[in-house]
C-alpha cells in the first residue's frame, strides 16, 4: 500500500529537520501548513489540520484505524510521512459524505449496526469503499480477506460484512 511513486514530484534538496512549508491536498482542499519532516500523515491530519476522523489505534501499522486514501489507494496514514504526500490527493472520512448526505457505505454501516464504539469505523469505511473499487468484494471470503487489515475490537465484523454486501449488491454499487 505504498504511495505510487511514479506520480510523485521529484524530491529536490534536503528538507528539515526544522518545520518546513508543506502543502497538503486533503478532500479536495489545499492546506498550506508547516511541518517537521518526521510528522506522519496521520498526525498531520489529526494534530495540524484538526481532521480527527482518521483514528490512531496503534501508530504501528497493525490496526487499520488510520486508513485513508492517497490518490485513491488505501494507505495506513500512521506509516506514511506527511511530506511524502505533497502533490498527491489525500482522502479521509471527512470527505466521504457529500452535501450532508451519507455515502451509501456510511448509511449501510448505520443500518447494519456495523460498529459499536466507532473508533475503527472511519478506517473500516475507507477500506470498505476501496474494496469495492478494487474489485475485492466479490465473495464473502474476498471481503473477509481484504478487510483483515482493519481490526474491530468491538467485533462488529459480521455486521460490517453485511453492510459491504448490501452496498455491493445495490444497483449503484456505492
Amino acid at each position: 500500500m505504498a504511495i505510487n511513486q511514479s506520480t510523485a514530484p521529484a524530491v529536490t534538496g534536503v528538507r528539515g529537520p526544522e518545520r518546513e512549508p508543506v502543502t497538503l491536498d486533503v478532500n479536495g482542499s489545499t492546506f498550506p501548513i508547516e511541518l517537521e519532516p518526521r510528522v506522519s500523515l496521520l498526525d498531520a491530519l489529526r494534530e495540524h489540520l484538526d481532521l480527527t476522523g482518521t483514528k490512531k489505534g496503534c501508530d504501528q501499522g497493525t490496526c487499520g484505524a488510520c486508513t485513508v486514501w492517497v490518490d485513491g489507494r488505501r494507505v495506513l496514514s500512521c506509516l506514511t510521512l506527511a511530506m511524502s504526500c505533497e502533490g498527491h490527493q489525500v482522502s479521509t472520512i471527512e470527505g466521504i459524505a457529500q452535501d450532508g448526505e451519507l455515502h451509501p457505505m456510511q448509511q449501510a454501516f448505520v443500518d447494519h449496526d456495523a460498529f459499536q464504539c466507532g473508533y475503527c469505523t472511519p478506517g473500516q469505511i475507507m477500506s470498505a469503499i476501496a474494496l469495492l473499487r478494487e474489485g475485492n468484494a466479490t465473495t464473502d471470503a474476498d471481503i473477509a480477506e481484504h478487510m483483515s487489515g482493519n481490526i474491530c475490537r468491538c467485533q462488529a465484523y459480521p455486521n460490517i460484512h453485511a453492510a459491504i454486501r448490501e452496498v455491493r449488491d445495490a444497483d449503484d454499487g456505492g
Binding site: E36, E47, T52, C63, Q106, D113, C154
Partner: protein, 749 residues
C-alpha cells in the same frame, strides 16, 4: 406495548461515528495544548538510580519532565475498590513516581511534556535512566512456592472462598468423578482507542476529558489523589473507543495528566501508546484452574470443587473471581470455590470482559462435557437436568431461561442430528465437531443510588440527562428509547445527554450493570416528569383534562389523553404554554436492591459452536456459532445483538488467539502490539447467530433489564473447546488453543 422500547432502532450517534465527527477524548482542541508521554521502567523490580534529563531537555520543545523527584505526593493513598461501588476506584493500590522503587516492568518512572507528539517521543527516548535491578517474580511458575489462599478479593469487598456441604466426602462417595486442570494465558483488552486523558486547569478547577467507562469514577479518584474538592473536578467523556474493562478502573495516567498540566501551566493530553496499553491499565491475569466434579450415574452433580491460582501485584489481592457461576448455575449441595494468589512483579490485574466467569466457565463447562461423555449422556440434557430453579442460597432466580436457551441453541446448530462419537467426521483434511456450553453472568448490586433528570420545554422537546458514557454499548440510543417510553413522547423530540460529571450521577457502566442502572434511573426520571405533567393538567381548570383522575390519563406522542373519552386531550406543550411554564423538570432516582436480595441473580444463555480442525496442522477454524441469551427485557435488540455477538467473538479470540506471557528473565510481557498479540480479524469470523429468550424480571429494576456486555463471552470458548474434542477426541486444557496445544492436547491435562 411501547412504541419505542424493544425496537431495533439505529444508533442515534451512528452518523457521528460513520462521518468521523464524534470527538473522542484525545481529539479535544485546546489552545496551547501540550503532549505528555509516559516513560515506563525497563526493569521489573529494582530502583531508579539516576535520571539524566540533559539530552532530553536539549532536544527542544520540552515543557517539563516529571519524575519521582518532582512529582507531587498524592494526598490520599490509593485503595483498590471496584468502580461499581461508586467510590474512588484506582486500578491498583499504588501510585507511581512517589519514590524510586520499581515494582513492575513498564511502571511509570517519568513523564515528558512537550510541544508536539514528536518532540515528546524524541525527548522520552533521550532520557537516560539507570536502574539497580533485583530478581523479579512475574510468572506463576516462578512464584508457585509462595502461593497462599486469599481471604478476600477486591479490596476486601468479596470473600475469596465459597464453601457449602462437604466436598471431600461427596467426591469420595461419588459414582463418577471428573478431575481437570487448566492453564490460561494472560489477556489484554486492547480497545482500539488506547486510554487517553486531556487535562486542563482553570485556577483551582480541573477539567478532564477522559476515555473512561465511568466519568464519576475518574472524578472521585482524581479528586481523592489530588486532595481537591469533587466540585472542582469535572470529567467529560462523549465518545470512548472501547473499554472491555481496561477503562473500568482509574489508572495512574489519568491523575498524572492533571499533575503534568499543573506542572507546565498548560492543558496536557496524555495518551498511552499501544505498547504501553499492555502495561498501564491492567490485564486478565495468567492463571491455572482445577475443577473436580462428582456425580451420580444418573447425572446429578453431587460435588464441585473449583480452585484458581493466579498471580497478582505486590500491592493488591486481586483475582478475577472465577467461581461466581460454577457455584450456582448447576445445583450441587457440596461446593468449594477458592482463589489462591502469588504476589509478584506485575501491575494489579483488572476486569477484562466477562471477568472471572469467562475462564471459570471454561473450566466448568469443559468439565461438564467430560462428565457427559463419562456418563454417556447428552451434554445439553445433562446441563438442563442439573440447572436448578433456585440459586446456591435456595433463592428463586429473579428470571431464568437457561433451559430454553439451551434448547433453542440446539435447534439452531442442528444438535438433534449429532453423532456424539468424537473424531469420526472428516471433510477433506478437516475433522468436524460441534460443542455446547452453558452461560451465566452474575448481576451485582453493589452500586449506590442512581440519578437521572428529565426536562421538557414548552415546545414539547425534551432533554434527558445522566452522567453515563458511551463506549460502544449504545447508551445514547437505548436511553433515548427509555426516556421516550417513560415520558410518552416521540424519540425524535428527545435528546439524551450524558458523559459529564456535572449531570446527575450514575455509576461506572461495568460488570454488565450499565443498562440496568441507567435505564432504571432514566425511566424513573421520565415517569416522575410525566406524572408531574399529568398532575398539572388535571388540576388546571383550563385544561380539557381538568378533574380527571391522573390514572385515567395516558400519554403518547407528547399528548395527554383521557382513557375514558379519547376525544379529550391536550399536548404537554399546550399545557405548559398556557400556564406560562417555560419548562418543567424532574429528578429520578433508583435505589438498587440490597446486595443480599433474596433472589438468584444471573443472566443466562447457551453457546454452541461448530469447528473444523486441520488434522495434520492442528489449526482450528470456527465455522458456526450460535448463542441464545435471556437478558430480561431487551431495550434495543439491534444493539443488544451487536454486544452479544461481540462477546461471543471475544470468546473465539480467547479460545484460539489471545494470550501473552511474561518473560521470566526480564519480567516484561513477551508481546506488546497488535501484530503479535493476535485478536480476531475479519478473516476469523464464522457464520454467527444470536437469539433472545424472553424472560420477565421484576427484581432487577423497573424495566427488568439485565446486561448483555459479558454473558455473550461466557461459555463461548468452552463451546469451541468441546467442539474441538468432538472433532478430534482431544481435550483442551490450555488457552489459547494454538495449533501446538491442539496437536498435543494442552499442557496441564
Amino acid at each position: 406495548m411501547s412504541p419505542v422500547l424493544g425496537k431495533p432502532v439505529n444508533r442515534v450517534d451512528g452518523p457521528d461515528k460513520v462521518t468521523g465527527t464524534g470527538r473522542y477524548c484525545g481529539e479535544i482542541v485546546l489552545p496551547g495544548l501540550a503532549y505528555g508521554l509516559i516513560v515506563g521502567a525497563d526493569v521489573a523490580k529494582g530502583r531508579v538510580v539516576s535520571i539524566d534529563e540533559s539530552a532530553a531537555r536539549a532536544a527542544g520543545g520540552v515543557y517539563g519532565i516529571l519524575t519521582h523527584r518532582n512529582t507531587p505526593k498524592v494526598a490520599n493513598a490509593p485503595h483498590l475498590i471496584p468502580s461499581l461501588a461508586g467510590q474512588p476506584a484506582p486500578g491498583e493500590s499504588f501510585f507511581p513516581m512517589q519514590d524510586d522503587v520499581v515494582h513492575y516492568w513498564g511502571q511509570p518512572v517519568a513523564l515528558v511534556v512537550a510541544d508536539s507528539l514528536e518532540s515528546a517521543a524524541h525527548a522520552a527516548a533521550l532520557l537516560d535512566i539507570t536502574y539497580e535491578e533485583s530478581p523479579a517474580v512475574a510468572t506463576i511458575e516462578d512464584g508457585r512456592k509462595s502461593a497462599y489462599e486469599a481471604e478476600t478479593l477486591f479490596g476486601g469487598l468479596m470473600p475469596a472462598r465459597d464453601e457449602r456441604g462437604d466436598v471431600t466426602a461427596a467426591l469420595a462417595a461419588a459414582e463418577v468423578t471428573v478431575d481437570a486442570s487448566y492453564r490460561y494465558a494472560a489477556n489484554h483488552h486492547n480497545p482500539l482507542e488506547t486510554s487517553v486523558t486531556t487535562a486542563q486547569w482553570d485556577g483551582d478547577r480541573l477539567t478532564l476529558w477522559d476515555s473512561t467507562m465511568g466519568v464519576r469514577a475518574s472524578q472521585l479518584t482524581v479528586a481523592s489523589l489530588l486532595g481537591i474538592p469533587l466540585s472542582d473536578v469535572r470529567v467529560i467523556t462523549h465518545f470512548v473507543g472501547g473499554g472491555f474493562g481496561s477503562k473500568a478502573m482509574v489508572w495512574p495516567h489519568v491523575t498524572l495528566a492533571a499533575m503534568a498540566a499543573r506542572h507546565v501551566g498548560r492543558p496536557v493530553r496524555l495518551t498511552l501508546t499501544r505498547p504501553q496499553s499492555f502495561t498501564s491499565n491492567g490485564h486478565r491475569e495468567e492463571q491455572e484452574q482445577r475443577i473436580t466434579l462428582g456425580a451420580g450415574r444418573d447425572g446429578r452433580l453431587t460435588a464441585i470443587r473449583h480452585q484458581k491460582l493466579s498471580i497478582t501485584s505486590s500491592f493488591d489481592d486481586w483475582a478475577e473471581p472465577a467461581t461466581g457461576v460454577s457455584t450456582q448455575i448447576y445445583g450441587c449441595d457440596n461446593y468449594l470455590g477458592s482463589h489462591s494468589l502469588i504476589k509478584g512483579n506485575t501491575m494489579t490485574p483488572t476486569f477484562t470482559r466477562a471477568p472471572g466467569e469467562s475462564l471459570g466457565s471454561f473450566s466448568l463447562e469443559t468439565a461438564m462435557d467430560r462428565l457427559a461423555y463419562e456418563l454417556g449422556m447428552d451434554p445439553v440434557e445433562l446441563r438442563i437436568m442439573n440447572h436448578p430453579p433456585v440459586d446456591n442460597h435456595g433463592n428463586p432466580w429473579s428470571s431464568d431461561g437457561m433451559a430454553d436457551c439451551l434448547r433453542r441453541g440446539a435447534e439452531l446448530i442442528g444438535w438433534a442430528d449429532r453423532d456424539p462419537t468424537p473424531g469420526v467426521r472428516q471433510e477433506g483434511d478437516n475433522l468436524i465437531g460441534t460443542g455446547v456450553a452453558g452461560a451465566g453472568y452474575p448481576v451485582a448490586f453493589m452500586m449506590p443510588v442512581q440519578h437521572a433528570r428529565a426536562r421538557i420545554f414548552n415546545d414539547g422537546s425534551v432533554v434527558i440527562q445522566t452522567s453515563a458514557q458511551e463506549f460502544g454499548i449504545g447508551v445514547t440510543t437505548s436511553m433515548s428509547q427509555v426516556g421516550a417510553d417513560g415520558l410518552g413522547v416521540d424519540m425524535d423530540v428527545l435528546r439524551f445527554e450524558a458523559g459529564d460529571t456535572d449531570l446527575p450521577n450514575t455509576t461506572s457502566a461495568v460488570g454488565s450493570m450499565g443498562a440496568t442502572m441507567q435505564s432504571s434511573a432514566v425511566h424513573n426520571a421520565a415517569r416522575t416528569l410525566r406524572n408531574e405533567l399529568i398532575a398539572h393538567a388535571v388540576a388546571d381548570d383550563k385544561s380539557p383534562l381538568h378533574g380527571l383522575s391522573p390514572s385515567s390519563v395516558r400519554v403518547a406522542d407528547g399528548r395527554m389523553t383521557s382513557t375514558l373519552d379519547p376525544s379529550i386531550s391536550e399536548s404537554y406543550a399546550d399545557m405548559l404554554q398556557r400556564n406560562r411554564l417555560l419548562d418543567l423538570e424532574a429528578l429520578g432516582s433508583w435505589t438498587p436492591p440490597p446486595f443480599t436480595t433474596p433472589h438468584g441473580l444471573l443472566t443466562f444463555g447457551a453457546q454452541f459452536a461448530e469447528v473444523a480442525v486441520d488434522k495434520d496442522l492442528g489449526l482450528v477454524r470456527v465455522r458456526r456459532m450460535a448463542g441464545v441469551f435471556a437478558p430480561g427485557r431487551v431495550l434495543n435488540p439491534k444493539l443488544a445483538r451487536s454486544q452479544l455477538l461481540g462477546g461471543m467473538l471475544w470468546g473465539l479470540g480467547q479460545a484460539l488467539l489471545e494470550g501473552n506471557q511474561i518473560d521470566r528473565q526480564s519480567g516484561r510481557w513477551a508481546l506488546n502490539n497488535l501484530g503479535e498479540y493476535l485478536v480476531p480479524v475479519h478473516a476469523d469470523i464464522p457464520d454467527i447467530q444470536v437469539e433472545f429468550v424472553e424472560v420477565e424480571d421484576d427484581v432487577v429494576g423497573p424495566l427488568g433489564v439485565k446486561g448483555v456486555g459479558e454473558v455473550g463471552q461466557v461459555g463461548a470458548a468452552a463451546a469451541i473447546a468441546n467442539a474441538v474434542f468432538h472433532a478430534t477426541g482431544r481435550r483442551m486444557s490450555e488457552l489459547p488453543m494454538t495449533a501446538e496445544v491442539v496437536m498435543n492436547g494442552g499442557g496441564a491435562g
